[in-house]
């Protein structure tokens, strides 16, 4: 006997994400979900961004990526409250799900936060599938990873609202073709803002931070 079910496999996550979104709307907290492969420079980019965004914006961070050591400590130097999520060390958690964010948010004083940045688990596949209740998503791609990543992981590049091309200070030493990666990103996600930065030198941060700030201010005002 066939029984119709017609349910989304991830509907539990979707419901929890909506709940988060409602809470963040009430508290006027803008949530940015930052994703990339391990080592693209999420933590370094966020470190630099936080020092420039604070104290004008009250920021906090939830870190799920533990690929490099002491991400939480590195981020806490900025003075922003940081919640580290202990993901399953056996790779059971390749992404942050909405219920994990809900729990982590309990450790934060949301009334005193304008911008909550979530550093997702280093992975270009799975996090794109999981709504966490965020307002915007940014994918970081470093120039050491190869130009074809946007077409290899189209879901990630379609689901994100902006792309950061990081480590441009290394371009003189690489054969990385910037025009090609820009073309690929435009094909996968026409109109997607692309920010070319070096999290090491701080080059290129102004347009990126302006983009982020204008979105945050629109929500919290």
């Amino acid at each position: 006997m066939e029984i119709k079910v017609v349910r989304k496999v991830l509907d539990v996550n979707a419901k929890m994400a909506e709940q988060n979104r409602k809470l963040f709307a009430e508290k006027k907290v803008f949530v940015l979900n930052v994703m990339s492969s391990p080592g693209s420079g999420k933590t370094t980019t966020l470190q630099k961004s936080l020092t420039r965004l604070m104290p004008d914006l009250k920021c906090a961070v939830i870190v799920g990526d533990i690929c490099t050591t002491n991400d939480a400590d590195r981020l806490a130097v900025s003075g922003a409250p940081v919640v580290q999520i202990n993901t399953d060390e056996f790779g059971g958690d390749c992404h942050l799900a909405a219920h994990v964010i809900e729990k982590a948010a309990l450790d934060l004083d949301l009334d005193n936060i304008d911008l909550l940045i979530v550093e997702n688990v280093g992975n270009l596949v799975c996090p794109a599938e999981f709504d966490i209740g965020e307002d915007a998503r940014t994918v970081v791609l470093s120039v050491t990873e190869g130009e074809d990543k946007p077409v290899k992981y189209p879901l990630m590049f379609r689901e994100c609202d902006s792309a950061i091309l990081n480590k441009i200070d290394l371009l003189p030493y690489l054969d990385f073709d910037m025009d090609l990666v820009r073309k690929y990103i435009r094909e996968v996600h026409p109109g997607m803002p692309i920010f070319e930065i070096s999290a090491k030198t701080g080059e290129g941060f102004d347009p990126w931070l302006d983009w982020l700030k204008s979105l945050v201010l629109k929500k919290i005002r």
């Binding site: 006997m1 079910v5 799975c126």
Partner: protein
């Protein structure tokens, strides 16, 4: 990579969908729809499903995966087409203002019980 978690969700939903009055029923087949744009690899999902279904009411059940093509509609010229390569601009007018109308599915359609 997250196929195990997804397999477990499928098993949970399928088991909960067995009518209460069918106490001894087992699930023979689960029919699901997976969009080609979703971050799920069908072969690895099938593999995980088989393992995760052991010792549940879905033990030995078949996972039937219908792959849904990526379809898009242009907001400018209203044309519709199937996307094969990861290029999301209109094939007729070149506009980048498009809606993906299918291909993101990750849905359970039905279960077959016995």
């Amino acid at each position: 990579m997250h196929e195990m978690g997804i397999a477990m969700q499928i098993i949970e939903i399928a088991a909960a969908s067995i009518p209460a009055e069918m106490k001894d029923a087992v699930v023979k087949k689960v029919n699901i729809k997976v969009g080609k744009l979703s971050a799920v690899v069908p072969s690895s999902l099938r593999f995980c499903f088989e393992i995760a279904a052991k010792d549940t009411r879905l033990s030995g059940a078949e996972l039937d995966i219908e792959e849904i093509p990526v379809r898009a509609r242009c907001r400018e010229c209203r044309g519709e087409w199937t996307i094969h390569d990861p290029v999301f601009t209109c094939i007729t007018c070149g506009s980048g203002s498009i809606d993906v109308i299918s291909g993101r599915e990750l849905d359970i359609a039905s279960i077959e019980v016995q």
